[in-house]
């Protein structure tokens, strides 16, 4: 079980919860205002989602309080897989469209 020394009380978890709700509100506002064109909107929403996921992983899932080895192995391996997926899926899908395959 994780070390309880880091548990400075439940207060920080309520703050994280509030921050997540606030960020969700910002996302909904951006979605309704449609300030950006779709590609930029996708990028902005993805950045906000990554911030929210970092809060959930770090605090709610307690990864922030695990050993450095565990933190780095998990974050690096999953991020590396997503980067590989990004560089394989998108160019290949784009190539299929340009080749005119129906």
């Amino acid at each position: 079980m994780h070390d309880v020394a880091h548990d400075y009380g439940k207060g920080q978890y309520f703050w994280v919860w509030g921050a997540l709700l606030l960020l969700t509100g910002v996302e909904v506002w951006l979605g309704y205002r449609q300030i950006f064109e779709p590609v930029h909107m996708l990028q902005v929403l993805l950045v906000l989602s990554i911030i929210k996921s970092a809060l959930i992983i770090g605090y709610f899932m307690h990864l922030k309080f695990e050993t450095a080895l565990m933190r780095w192995v998990l974050v690096f391996s999953v991020t590396a897989c997503f980067i590989i997926m990004f560089f394989f899926f998108f160019p290949d899908a784009d190539r299929i469209i340009r080749l005119g395959v129906k």
């Binding site: 079980m1 709700l21 969700t24 909904v28 989602s49 080895l69 565990m70």
Partner: protein, 268 residues
């Protein structure tokens, strides 16, 4: 073994019989196992989200979600975020060995999760009723004449990615609720789950996709029954923490689905 870390501290000096190796990540094996499962599961959702994003950018994408859908999805998001908070409180209670409050917070988490499933089910039902459907879905009388029938016909990728992504997530939430129910109530949860399954099966109309989807509860009942009877145990703080990891992951995935699927298809 769940208590590997604790047992190690009491282990004899190096080289003696019965000594345990240092855990690789400084954490007990169940937690490492759950983290590895979640890492692999994140790739499943990652592939689905990449497919959705690709279609969203490169296709003339419909924007069918009006104010009602966005409000509904925002409430669903709030439910999941609140469930994560109650899950954290359940973990704290379990570390204090406070059984009553552990169970109460777990039940609160399940209630939020169930609210999410019900709201999502209502959203699906509305969309299907309005004509958004996949070829395998049961056909209602009104099917094909609703507001979204044109969307299904002109951009079939929309229905495929929407139902694929949100359906996969709803399945994970349902499994999560069953998992938490087994941890909170142990064998007492089985008759409750059986009653919910039977009630849902007879209450949901035969032309609804959930009339077939509800069989997930039956599969969950069988699996939970096998586990609870083969290895009956009093779930401790380690188990609650590991179940919490799964639940927070379900919440985490929705943090990507909500903006990408709903907010990127908003009809202003």
């Amino acid at each position: 073994m769940a208590d590997a870390v604790l047992e190690h501290s009491a282990a004899p000096a190096h080289g003696h019989a019965g000594e345990f190796e240092q855990p690789l990540f400084g954490a007990y094996s169940k937690k490492v196992g759950m983290w590895l499962f979640l890492a692999s599961d994140s790739l499943t959702f990652g592939a689905l989200l990449f497919a959705f994003s690709y279609n969203r950018i490169y296709t003339a994408w419909p924007t069918p979600f009006g104010k009602e859908s966005i409000i509904n999805a925002t409430i669903m998001t709030a439910c999941l975020l609140s469930s994560s908070l109650t899950m954290v409180l359940a973990v704290f209670a379990s570390q204090r060995h406070d059984r009553a409050w552990t169970r109460n917070w777990l039940l609160a988490t399940m209630a939020f999760g169930t609210a999410f499933i019900v709201l999502h089910g209502m959203e699906w039902t509305h969309l299907i009723h309005e004509g958004l459907a996949l070829p395998g879905f049961p056909q209602s009388i009104e099917h094909g004449s609703g507001e979204y029938a044109k969307v299904s016909a002109s951009v079939p990728q929309f229905a495929a990615t929407f139902f694929g992504l949100t359906g996969m997530h709803m399945l994970h939430v349902t499994i999560g609720v069953i998992y938490l129910g087994a941890v909170a109530l142990r064998k007492w949860f089985l008759p409750i789950l059986a009653a919910i399954y039977i009630a849902a099966f007879f209450a949901i109309p035969a032309d609804s996709v959930f009339h077939y989807g509800v069989h997930v509860l039956l599969v969950g009942l069988i699996v939970a029954g096998i586990i609870l009877f083969l290895k009956p145990k009093d779930y401790d703080a380690y188990d609650v923490e590991v179940s919490g990891l799964y639940w927070h992951f379900v919440d985490l995935v929705w943090m990507f689905i909500f903006p990408l699927v709903y907010l990127m298809s908003t009809r202003v």
